[in-house]
Symmetry: C2
Subunit: 368 residues, 2 copies
């Protein structure tokens, strides 16, 4: 049996589950590599995947005998078959965070199950710890993201719109990867004060501030990175905010390590921001993997311990409504003693098109 | 109060619901125009929208006094506030097809509700019937889709890949609309036998068959259209299949009307296909609106009556595994006596780059 399914079967024993219904397609892909519409059933003795005619061919091309998964076309599964799958199972687990209330009731009816048991993200929790291949894929996605960022710094010129820049990034990714891992954020000027700005028709000015939040997918795994940078020069009033964000982003590189509490990490940054009169308005980070946002969530609301080989973002940000914002975000791999930056783009002041402002304001040269 | 919320309040009275929790963001957008993360509560006396700091500004910019919606930042809502919202409500409705089992339990706890009542898609059912503005938007999206199809027929040349063609369609939409309403399907040769093919690196041949399934979004409303067409010439063995699909697609234009049963419509096409030795492997159509696939679903599994001003697709298709497939799909508006085609692209044999094969096979000129 494939090792991930074997792991899950051991987990089921320890939880006294005789059966398990897996509905979340990302979890199914994680366990089996199958990307289709269907459901995975772990019964007492068998692993069963039920799909429809559209996907049968594809599913058979993915699986090997070694997977030990029996594939059914849903049209060939009778009412009695459904009722037999979990016969004599006392406890059957289901994914209560994915399954709707209506599906839950449908499962009870269709499989004739008396006790559907909540499984509290068992698979998502396992997915937090990445294996070598997963880390290799994320690393590659981060590397292409670094390259794309270098490319885009050269590409951007005053007069271009945010949308145009976002499109160029998406084109870059499309040619080299499976595409973006989320809708690219390109925010400039005042728009940088919105953490989740949507690229607009605003044109880049001769002296401007830009935040880009970008990522791509390689072999099904995501990258995520943000930089705030400058056109022409770094305005003096932005520097203290940038420095404070950078200080916290860099410091946490030492604190993000095996055993660290996600709540405490958040508290530390929040306190330092507050001391300087600012708030931490969004979470400090999140897991990255098959999904762009996945467990663990690094915020004061969750209390998880970071573990070796988790891959998470580290993204403190300060946003001053109606004025500007600064966010610096890396994707990092947690180790026993700290973390490895998978993102390697410059974090000190980045200034592009400096020549534009040089002519007019000779006394205000930006620090590189 | 805005008329959609007023309608919903009347509906609640008739269902004996004293409160309603609306969680599906598409339903919230339909009722309020708000596009954000949050929850809409209809309590005994008030309409309440709870969101977070990121969206407050945006939400206030969308709503007017006339909407009669009170907006809260979730950070300002206390445990007691949540418990008070539905105090003295006997029945509170929720969206059992959207809310996960975990959320359902959380609602019970947080709002201290004893009886959460399933509401069986009340809002989705109302969304099936489009008003004038909604139809205007879908019509516009269909018109741009027709134009895009004309453009792409000129654009395609032998040697291009399916991916390249799909990209060109997406670029066309990006410049004129809010983007694609679903991932564009460009399938050629054998790939046309897969109803949900993903664009590949396969190159278009001098004599070839292509299926394109495409749509865009205008003011939040979708279009959906498919055409199967030919490069060089129409192979003789494809003609009977094409003719059968076209005959059924055209005939149903008369049958798609107010009062028609979705099951019977499907049965009619299925029977005609079976008489000729083919199967109807996917549903005959689906509603189109804010979502690319929404109620009503036109298949043998559902039994809905079509009603005036529903907008649905009509998309019979035949797929011969490993060989080829043909699908013809229009988006149509149901009327009292038939339906209006919102898609107006050619449905008879379309042959592009006929010159390519003319030189070599003079005796087999394609019928246009």
């Amino acid at each position: 049996m494939n090792p991930k399914l074997q792991w899950l079967r051991n987990k089921m024993s320890s939880l006294d589950l005789q059966g398990l219904i897996i509905s979340n397609p990302i979890n199914i892909k994680y366990l089996t590599n199958i990307e289709a519409e269907g459901i995975l059933l772990l019964t007492r003795k068998e692993n069963i995947y039920i799909t429809d005619a559209r996907y049968i061919e594809h599913v058979h091309s993915i699986l090997t005998l070694y997977d030990e998964i029996i594939v059914y076309d849903m049209n060939d599964v009778s009412k009695e078959d459904y009722e037999n799958f979990f016969m004599f199972c006392e406890n059957v687990g289901f994914e209560e965070y994915y399954v709707t209330y209506a599906q839950y009731k449908e499962y009870m009816r269709k499989y004739k199950i008396n006790s559907l048991v909540e499984t509290e993200h068992i698979i998502e929790k396992q997915r937090m710890i990445k294996d070598e291949e997963e880390i290799r894929n994320i690393k590659k996605a981060c590397e292409i993201t670094d390259n794309c960022f270098s490319y885009i710094l050269d590409y951007i010129k005053p007069g271009m719109t945010e949308k145009q820049i976002a499109n160029e990034i998406e084109e870059y990714y499309k040619e080299r990867t499976e595409g973006v891992s989320f809708d690219t954020i390109v925010a400039s000027g005042e728009n940088t004060s919105k953490p989740h700005a949507i690229p607009s028709d605003r044109k880049i000015q001769d002296v401007d501030i830009i935040t880009i939040d970008m990522g791509c997918i390689v072999n099904g795994y995501c990258s995520d990175m943000t930089r705030t940078f400058f056109v022409g020069k770094v305005p003096e009033y932005v520097k203290p905010v940038y420095d404070l964000v950078l200080k916290n982003q860099t410091q946490t590189t030492e604190d993000f390590k095996d055993g660290a509490s996600t709540r405490l990490l958040t508290k530390m940054v929040e306190n330092d921001f507050k001391l300087n009169g600012y708030d931490l308005v969004h979470s400090l980070g999140h897991g990255v993997g098959m999904e762009i946002h996945e467990a663990p969530y690094i915020s004061y609301r969750s209390d998880t311990q970071l573990k070796e080989n988790m891959v998470v973002t580290n993204e403190p940000g300060i946003y001053i409504p109606g004025k500007f914002g600064v966010r610096i975000e890396d994707t990092v791999q947690i180790t026993k003693f700290g973390c490895i930056n998978l993102t390697n783009s410059e974090k000190n002041y980045i200034v592009i098109c400096q020549w534009v402002s040089m002519g007019t304001e000779k006394n205000d040269t930006a620090k590189m």
